[in-house]
Subunit: 492 residues, 3 copies
């Protein structure tokens, strides 16, 4: 926010020499304005921090959503395992992101590839990054790790999980976020010196940075582990290994939806930024618009999935609808702030088809991902990056990324190829970077026999063999009380 421009010299001249002490009067008045100006600064810090903090809490709630979604999507015998990984994504992620992840991602000043300040939050807060920003970015980092844990569920050793999760949250993900979100990043849309293709990548809330990274990491993990026992029968036909609780899936999906309102609109990080002072239209409108585009993309994707799956399988299936919904969200994440609401409808529609296609493909190549995470976050995420390159609106691009008029915008909106090219580059480098880091990591773990659990453990379930017991115990130990309950109950 520009400060008020009261100038003592100008005002003193205007008051003129007949005023007893023109300079002092002018200084006095301007001093008052300066105090007013300071208080506006305070106000905007307080308002923006409030906004950012509550957004961060919402994003954190997504971790709960992931936990419930994952728990419901696996078989009962592996519930304890998958929930533990979700709790630890958050916990281990907190420590690693504090120690060095945040420094790699946003350490400034830095080169375009990796940050190198703020280790252990040293020198934070400064005028650019406050604690609340760290918290917000941490919540993003753990989301990426949460995506991956879904792909390799039900068959991965817990130690392997601890290793890849730390590596992903502490190194792989922070570097990608540095490239695209730090003002020093080589492909950042806010890079001060040199924009990639004169444009930089507009991955506003992370279809690429978060979702593709998590999804592709999961792709490698699931690929190297191979499918779960029983997922493809002897003749190679796919058998559905259904999750144990659709209620938990729906609970998780709604919580993710809820949290996405922190993820997408929250990515502005500031809300008290007028575009023209004194006008009803400002960043707060853009924030609201972002929430609307997010909603519409998800809703459209859910409906598209509903009817398409009805045609394909004959069922109205709620878990498929939930996945479609999430696919729509993952896709709109990149462009949510710079597209019109009607474009979000298109985004969601295509995202649902992309997801269905990816799932068909996965089945064909015998790729097994219990949560469809690689297909959903990888596939729909990539579509989202492309979508933004096609539909970004000129006005919104310039409002959200101000200070550099004449930026390229969406190809289909007449904005030329600059943005589209940058986004293709983004898709490629993310695939490349995750392949060269997570691919070898999973491969080495496998070679060391640390990746996959034994066939016996897999049949019995990890909860019994590794995690101290089954997650559920609906019946009492003595069998007869249990069955008595069952019958006694209903007449009451």
């Amino acid at each position: 926010m520009a400060s008020l421009s009261c100038s003592t010299e100008q005002l003193a001249t205007l008051l003129g020499s007949n005023t007893t002490n023109a300079t002092a009067a002018a200084t006095y008045i301007c001093g008052q304005f300066s105090a007013v100006s300071d208080k506006f600064v305070d106000t905007s810090y307080a308002v923006d921090s409030t906004y950012l903090l509550f957004s961060a809490y919402l994003v954190f709630a997504m971790q709960l959503g992931f936990a419930m979604l994952c728990a419901g999507s696996v078989r009962a015998k592996n519930t304890m395992n998958i929930m533990l990984t979700n709790v630890l994504d958050a916990a281990a992620g907190g420590i690693f992101y504090y120690l060095f992840g945040f420094a790699f991602a946003f350490g400034a000043p830095s080169n375009g590839f990796i940050g190198r300040h703020f280790f252990g939050l040293k020198d934070v807060p400064d005028s650019l990054y406050d604690y609340s920003f760290f918290l917000y970015q941490w919540a993003f980092a753990i989301a990426a790790a949460g995506i991956t844990s879904g792909s390799i569920a039900e068959r991965t050793q817990f130690v392997a999980y601890l290793i890849y999760s730390s590596f992903l949250t502490g190194f792989v993900y922070p570097i990608v976020s540095h490239w695209f979100w730090s003002p020093y990043g080589w492909a950042s849309a806010t890079n001060m010196e040199n924009l990639l293709f004169g444009s930089g990548v507009i991955d506003f809330a992370g279809s690429g940075v978060v979702h593709m990274v998590g999804g592709i990491a999961g792709l490698y993990g699931a690929l190297i582990e191979g499918p779960r026992i029983g997922r493809f029968d002897n003749r190679g036909r796919a058998t559905t290994l259904r999750g144990h609780s659709a209620s938990l899936v729906v609970l998780g999906t709604f919580l993710l939806w809820f949290g996405w309102y922190g993820f997408n609109p929250g990515s502005f990080t500031k809300i008290l930024s007028p575009y023209t002072s004194g006008n009803y239209y400002g960043q707060w409108s853009a924030v609201g618009r972002t929430a609307v585009t997010t909603t519409l993309a998800g809703c459209t994707a859910a409906l598209t999935t509903l009817f398409t799956k009805r045609l394909l399988s004959g069922h109205w299936n709620v878990t498929d609808v939930c996945n479609g919904l999430l696919g729509g969200f993952a896709a709109i994440t990149a462009g949510c702030s710079v597209v019109e609401p009607w474009a979000a409808v298109i985004c969601g529609f295509v995202a649902a088809l992309v997801l269905i296609g990816c799932n068909k493909l996965a089945e064909k190549v015998k790729f097994d991902d219990p949560l469809e995470a690689a297909q959903l976050h990888g596939g729909c995420g990539a579509w989202g990056v492309i979508f933004t390159g096609l539909f970004a609106n000129k006005k919104y691009v310039n409002e959200v990324y101000p200070g550099k008029p004449g930026r390229p915008y969406g190809l289909l909106m007449g904005g030329g190829w600059g943005l589209f090219a940058a986004h293709i580059v983004q898709v490629l480098v993310i695939i490349g970077w995750v392949s060269v880091t997570m691919g070898p990591l999973f491969f080495i773990l496998r070679k060391l026999n640390l990746l996959r659990i034994s066939a016996d453990d897999e049949m019995a379930g990890m909860d019994l063999t590794r995690h101290g017991g089954f997650a559920y115990d609906y019946e009492d130990d003595s069998v007869n009380i249990g069955s008595q309950n069952g019958t006694q109950n209903t007449p009451i």
Copy 2:
């Protein structure tokens, strides 16, 4: 918000002719103030948008609450079905409300009956409606549809559901909200030209607009479908078909409680509105008071239900308490912003009795509503509207609906009967309108054999026949495994 009123014309003469350039100096100073004033405008928009957006997110979380409440309240064999309807309430509602629902509800300028601008969010944002307002209203619209889906649970064809849900969210509900909430609505308390009975209807957050609409729609649905198989035995006695998971019911109830803090206090839509500038008492206090009245009404209703049910049935029953709690919330929703906290206690107390009475009545007339939604949202919602007309305080009414001194207020508070008259009109027109729209719709679906599922499907459960399988698989495929699984814990596991 009035801006600081610096006027160069007034200031310049005060400097007078001896000042070198009095007009320029005054203009200079006043321009500074004008900048300051603009920045206050920015601040107010940012603060109010933050407040409204987070309130909208809370209201959205009620949809999750509905989903869990409904899921837990039906039998396990219909869980997938009911959860799908809840997800689609939100999803289909999002599209329809975007395309025309919002336009019907708030399209301005319009006549008193229906709005006709802003289709597909065209021309949004304007100075009065921003995107965040749309999002907030969308979250309300899907809540109404969520209520109805509870009433007709466990026996409705999915296609029927898709049709009524779109119709309710896209047309029936928006029109009602236009009447009572839009500045152009014929019964709105903010109508600028002509207030109904000089008062307008004070349905602040929608006991009538949301809850009664949803509840009465559900009433017609459930009435036309008839009770579930097994709900009343041959001799006509009621048999409780218990939901499959009380944990989900409690989860859903608490989430609804959580979300209600967006529903009621959020309905101010602005928080940075002083009543007198520079004072600690302003709209922020009214917002806080609204949260407090909401809480107290729900709490009282929960306790009343607890003891009432204990006396009637001999049990301390948590699902009944949850329903009582929600009844208290549905009732206070209309008057939450204009009543004193002590009145909210009365509101909740009566709401619990209303709900118990409605349930007794429903059982007597063999009306089957798996979620008690018609009784709860319809009955307690109607009581809430009456309650507001009785207990609205003069001061709060004038603060919340400013600019028109001498408005009627609560009958018991000495404000005369005009508010009550308006509120009775509201109840009647809502009943009439929903009867005239949703009644024929459900009847038509019934005649077309699109409404109720077949008897076989109902006995087997819709999840198996229509939704691709049972919601839960706690045990492995073979019997062997199943039994092992269950016994393994006591025998062999280290713990």
Copy 3:
């Protein structure tokens, strides 16, 4: 917030006699600034209220977290019971805290021991306490009661629960919060007349006031009731009576984590307070830092528990990790605003060890607490109080508790022993006060045979005998059906 200090008396002479009307000009200008200043007051109230209200909603969501955590941690046959107690903590707590709890806690002016104004929210809002503050404090009060209900789960009569819960929320807890948080409290760090040891107790968000009070109350309850049947076998060995659903435990834990962001950072109650006007570093940074310390302490405790338990028991156990996490949060609650992030890591590490140690001890002395609530909230809470006295940094203490330079701060940070002395006093008086109130209460209930349920009831489960039925019905009525249901998926379903 200091307002712009425009003074017409100072400004007028600067214009001097040549200005036509210097006094009027100066007054005119200064009046404009006064308007501006008022609008800053409005803005601050609106922003702070928004912040406080949403924090209160988050804290409320912890009640949902408690309900789910408790439900998942008990056996299925007692689920209805424990969830009912959690709903009623909130509901009964709402009424009692409204009627007198808030008055005891924050009624001002008062003596150092107990407040005595604001009964039934009379005279609220004042310039220092608004409705939103009441709501926030209510959410805290019910958290304390929620802690205790975990300790005595699965074996307590419902009537006993109603009595102790009202007493705790309405009297015991409010008095403690008066001592340490009210401006009049004898040990409050904001006491204007006389600080305890020149320092007062820095229990920022209530490791002592909330967690120790709830935990110690639970300790007495569980001690007087004795362990559940089957918890210790004939030879005295402990047998783990596992909860019925780890999913609910994880759900509850994450919700508590989510809510803790209202609990700790929210305890500032204001966010728009600059330390130096016009600077990026202000209370908003302290709020963010508090959220960070909270996060880090919980994360460290979770990891410590994970590896600690792996070594001790050979399992990677998610419910243990959840408890460890919560122990880390309970510990950091006291000092969250005044310690560095690195110190929070230490806090969490030790908290996990304290919890493991307390659990070992409890097993040794045959103390049975189904939720580990006494160990977790009592033990880790006490550690948190000590921790704050050791690691509070000078700068943060003076920023968070301004206006009295040279306050004592953490012993290890060079701040001397006075803060530690005050904190040890806090631990002792909380133990003493809760022992003197809740101990006799539970003992009296025990003597009146109102405390523990009968052996038969305990074996059958309270849900069947007292709460109208089992919480879950996954299967249809007959056995026949039951088996069909279960087998149907692999054999006959289309998928």
